[in-house]
Amino acid sequence: MIYLQLFLSFFQIGLFSIGGGYAAMPLIQNQVVNLHGWLSMNEFVDVITISQMTPGPVAINSATFVGIKIAGVGGALVATFGCVLPSCIIVLLLAHFYFKYQNLTVVRGVLSGLRPAVVAMIASAGLSILLTASFVDGLIPASFADVRFVGIALFLIAFFVLRKWKVNPIYVMVGCGVVGMLVTKLTGLQ
């Protein structure tokens, strides 16, 4: 029963991947490549690459990709459903407690410690993305050849535009993509 297998595999992936997409990758690989052989290692790497190029969580993307390959659109739906179900149950439970007890002193205390931590984690993820956008390999480079000047210029302009005019972030992201593509393809700069 392929639908049930797809559902159970992606249910496990959803249940055990805590902390975002990179935590999910080894789990997906284990289920999809090692245990069931639904994808070859090469295909798996392709899925990861495409996931980074398309919107959406890696787990959902691979659920769709694997589901379609193994059992068509129905498979994609079943795998995605399996992947989302654990989140649904656990997050709803936590949400229920949060909205019920958010005014208790203890809970308010815990949350007051979490808020600055969350900002720091977002900052940390943002800095990694900024370095990838600014330098080849995402590391502070040894030579100017590895600096993406176009990327740095786009970041600075976009940041200025966002601060100054509070533009919709989606327009800023798409704008950066289109301008970046035209500049790098037409002038050969990077």
Binding site: L15, G56, A59, S112, L130, L154, V161, V172, M173
Partner: protein
């Protein structure tokens, strides 16, 4: 009728946001904040940070978790269903289409250049939100939150410390410090 419009708005908002979360789950947080806190004024800034903490510490994709929380907060269990579908549909559609010709897509240099440029935009969007959120915390003029913010940044960026561990520690610090603050207030009240 009014309720129906709220569900529609929730669906359209999460669908649009999900369609643009390039670069990992964290990107959805600034986008959601912009949409639900700044534009629609449906959620308070502090509550948004609380929901982010819950989304991060639960299993599953952050984008999906955040959507579940927003849906539940704004329109109960049915709201959750609406936001989950809104969040899952864009990657489902995109990947279904791309799986048909993914070799051509993955090796196209124009696509690669477009995505490279978008990364700068994503970084700017995150920087913008971090700037707003961090200055909000610094303006409170309490040393503990600022210290937590700096320490967690160092721990997670430079030392890759596990996010769940960081959340547990910071939650405990917050609980203990608010306990003593409460106690001090009571003692002062007695005098």
């Amino acid at each position: 009728m009014k309720k129906g419009r709220k569900y529609l708005q929730l669906f359209l908002s999460t669908f649009k946001l999900s369609a643009f979360t390039f670069g990992g789950g964290y990107v959805i947080i600034p986008l959601m904040r912009k949409q639900f806190v700044e534009k629609l004024h449906w959620i308070e800034e502090d509550e948004m940070l609380d929901l982010t903490a819950i989304a991060q510490s639960s299993p599953g994709p952050i984008a999906v978790n955040a959507a579940i929380l927003i849906g539940y907060r704004l329109a109960g269990k049915l709201g959750t269903l609406v936001t989950i579908i809104g969040t899952v549909l864009p990657p489902l559609i995109t990947l279904s289409v791309i799986s048909l010709f993914y070799q051509a897509f993955a090796t196209n240099t124009w696509v690669a250049a477009l995505l490279q440029g978008m990364q700068s935009g994503v970084a700017a969007v995150i920087a913008d939100v971090v700037f707003s959120m961090a200055s909000g915390i610094i303006k409170e003029k309490k040393w503990l939150p600022v210290l937590i913010m700096a320490a967690v940044f160092v721990a997670s960026y430079f030392f890759n410390v596990n996010i769940i561990l960081l959340i547990l520690i910071c939650g405990a610090i917050g609980a203990v410090s608010s306990h003593f603050e409460e106690k001090r207030k009571k003692e002062r009240g007695v005098e």
